[in-house]
């Protein structure tokens, strides 16, 4: 499911908003080289919502940024990243710029830090359009229209205001309007709701889903909130230590996790529904790829691990609805 796609590969990559194949990222070279990502393969179809879940440092934001060709300074990327037919890792400066201006946008975690505080909201929204050659009047018209669509009352007045005059939720709507202004085929949402309070969170997620559905945009939803991802995403990828350990449909992930790490994450999150159960913290601390053990990266924290887990990085295999990188998924969800 995750691996080889022999026949018709060209056709699928053209259709997909984002196609990442065996992406690896290494900082530095020689003995001091630090691996950041290994063998990351994921796909976001048009109009599809795909979750990318993991703890801090698992490499989920790195993966999202690599989709825009933004790799850390001094890092070497291997594999292939394709955004609606454009090979991102091989693309030149101009091609990357065009890609970012027209085909892919990003919504960031903290809207207050991610919008220039000394520029007006109107400037923020029209700047991208102006850069694509839209005349000033038309760009302003379009920006007002977008602000209305994301649910901001008095769009004309909002255009003249500064970011600090908005609440966090409203500002996140502004950023979503900005991200959608170029009619992208791929929307990267990097923890777009983490900095917001819970009710605002729900509104922003609903807005994102609605805008995405209306436009047929593919969305990669990066979050550490497994419950949220399972609830809104068509498919979810779970990342651990720079690798993807499980891919499953949103629903299935929630009910029948196949990787011990996914199950541990689910058990670690409190729930307001159902019976009271003890919250189980995941033993140990999250690992970066560079410091993870041989074989399966999760084995030093895994209750099911034995000697076989140290031999090699487990290949992805199908278990029920999931594609999972574990030797014994049947012990996790029989």
């Amino acid at each position: 499911m995750l691996d080889d796609k022999p026949a018709g590969e060209e056709a699928t990559t053209r259709r997909d908003a984002l196609d990442v194949a065996r992406l690896g990222l290494t900082l530095g070279a020689g003995d001091g080289a630090v691996p950041l990502l290994a063998d990351v393969t994921l796909r976001v179809g048009r109009g599809e919502t795909v979750g990318l879940v993991g703890e801090s440092g698992s490499g989920k934001s790195l993966t999202a940024r690599a989709a825009l060709g933004m790799v850390p300074r001094g890092a070497r990327a291997t594999g292939r990243v394709t955004v609606s037919g454009v090979d991102v890792l091989a693309a030149g400066r101009r091609a990357l710029r065009d890609l970012r201006r027209t085909r892919a946008s990003m919504v960031f975690q903290d809207p207050r830090a991610s919008i220039n505080p000394v520029r007006r909201v109107g400037d923020y929204l029209t700047e991208g359009l102006r850069a694509r050659g839209t005349p000033a009047g038309a760009a302003a018209e379009r920006a007002r229209e977008l602000l209305g669509q994301v649910g901001i009352a008095d769009p004309a007045g909002a255009m003249r205001r500064f970011p600090h005059q908005f609440s966090g939720g409203m500002l996140q709507r502004v950023m979503i309007a900005g991200a959608l202004s170029t009619e992208p085929e791929l929307l990267l949402a990097d923890e777009p709701t983490t900095a917001l309070d819970v009710t605002t969170q729900a509104e922003v997620v609903a807005l994102l889903k609605e805008m995405q559905r209306a436009r047929g945009t593919g969305m990669l939803f990066v979050t550490h909130d497994l419950d949220l991802a399972a609830a809104i995403c068509d498919r979810v990828y779970v990342m651990y230590a720079g690798r993807i350990v499980e891919e499953a449909p949103g629903r299935a992930l929630f009910t029948a996790p196949a990787h011990p790490y996914t199950r541990a994450l689910l058990e670690a999150s409190p729930s307001a529904h159902g019976d009271r159960v003890a919250i189980k913290a995941v033993a140990g601390r999250p690992r970066a790829l560079a410091e993870s053990p041989s074989g399966c990266s999760f084995r030093d924290r895994c209750p099911l691990a034995d000697d076989r887990c140290a031999e090699a990085v487990p290949a992805h295999r199908t278990h029920r609805a999931s594609a999972v990188a574990c030797l014994r998924p049947e012990l996790v969800s029989p």
Binding site: F108, S114, N116
Partner: protein, 287 residues
């Protein structure tokens, strides 16, 4: 762009709401600049007319509010005319050093790597050279006058601005909104000039005000040493220098007046610059 001005003004407190010291500083600078500008109209006497019979008159003498110097020239008139050179020259230094320093600082911060290393070490070298010494060297080569010392001081003040700009730009460049614009497909130069520069403007203003004060004193020192403005033209530094002998003769007035004006001007510029630096760009959150 036309929309920007009225709303910005509405957001800012009026002159009356600013601290008293800042209001005094601003009023004093306006006064000094205005008297310099209107010197031909306002000055009671020609600044260069000597009257040896009337030399070293104390302040308050009829017709000479601040007295006369050892050559019998009216001190008030000379102060007024002197304001021209004394203000314009440091302004030139600040503008030149500001532009060069900002350009170098931004380039070093944004390019990083060996570009940063070369520019930063270059600035260190210039910085380690005393500005007054450099100015004297240049004057020795090109002869006295204002242009040469202004250019020399501008060179030695460039790292003063450049180092600060570089540091703030590196800090500001790491903030998430910078990445946001890169994600939107804007080039480094565009993001730097249009988005980073306005955000570091407060620091730039404060630093420029500080350099203005230093430059004014440096230029006054040069004039005092006889290397700046050529006599009989007046500027404050040369007035102090020429009044030296009068101090020994028991009439310090003609030296005190320009000395006091230099002091008050420098203090005012620093007070105003510090205040503007703090209020431009609104609240700074986080960092």
């Amino acid at each position: 762009m036309t929309l920007t001005i009225p709303a910005l003004r509405a957001r800012r407190p009026g002159f009356r709401r600013r601290p008293l010291g800042v209001r005094f500083a601003a009023a004093f600078l306006v006064l000094v600049a205005a008297t310099g500008l209107l010197a031909p109209v306002l000055a009671p006497h020609s600044p260069d007319t000597t009257s040896l019979l009337n030399s070293l008159a104390p302040p308050g003498t009829a017709g000479h509010l601040l007295g006369t110097d050892s050559a019998g020239r009216d001190v008030l008139s000379r102060l007024m005319y002197g304001a021209r050179f004394s203000l314009i020259a440091p302004l030139g230094v600040v503008l030149l050093a500001g532009v060069a320093g900002t350009a170098i600082g931004l380039l070093a911060a944004r390019a990083g790597g060996w570009v940063d290393a070369v520019l930063s070490r270059g600035m260190d070298i210039v910085f380690s050279f005393p500005s007054l010494l450099l100015a004297m060297l240049v004057v020795a080569v090109f002869g006295p006058g204002l242009t040469a010392p202004v250019c020399a001081l501008a060179v030695s003040y460039t790292p003063f601005v450049g180092r600060v700009v570089r540091n703030v730009a590196i800090q500001e460049g790491a903030r998430p909104y910078m990445e946001g614009y890169r994600v939107m497909g804007f080039g480094e130069a565009w993001v730097t000039l249009r988005h980073l520069l306005p955000n570091i403007a407060p620091v730039l203003v404060a630093q420029s005000a500080l350099s203005f004060g230093y430059a004014l004193v440096d230029l006054a020192s040069l004039s005092y040493l006889g290397l700046g403005v050529r006599p009989p033209d007046a500027d404050w530094g040369s007035m102090i220098s020429q009044a030296q002998s009068a101090i020994l003769q028991g009439s310090p007035w003609s030296a005190l007046a320009p000395g006091l004006v230099v002091l008050l001007t420098v203090v005012s510029v620093n007070v105003l610059g510090g205040h503007l630096g703090g209020s431009i760009g609104g609240k700074k959150e986080g960092t």
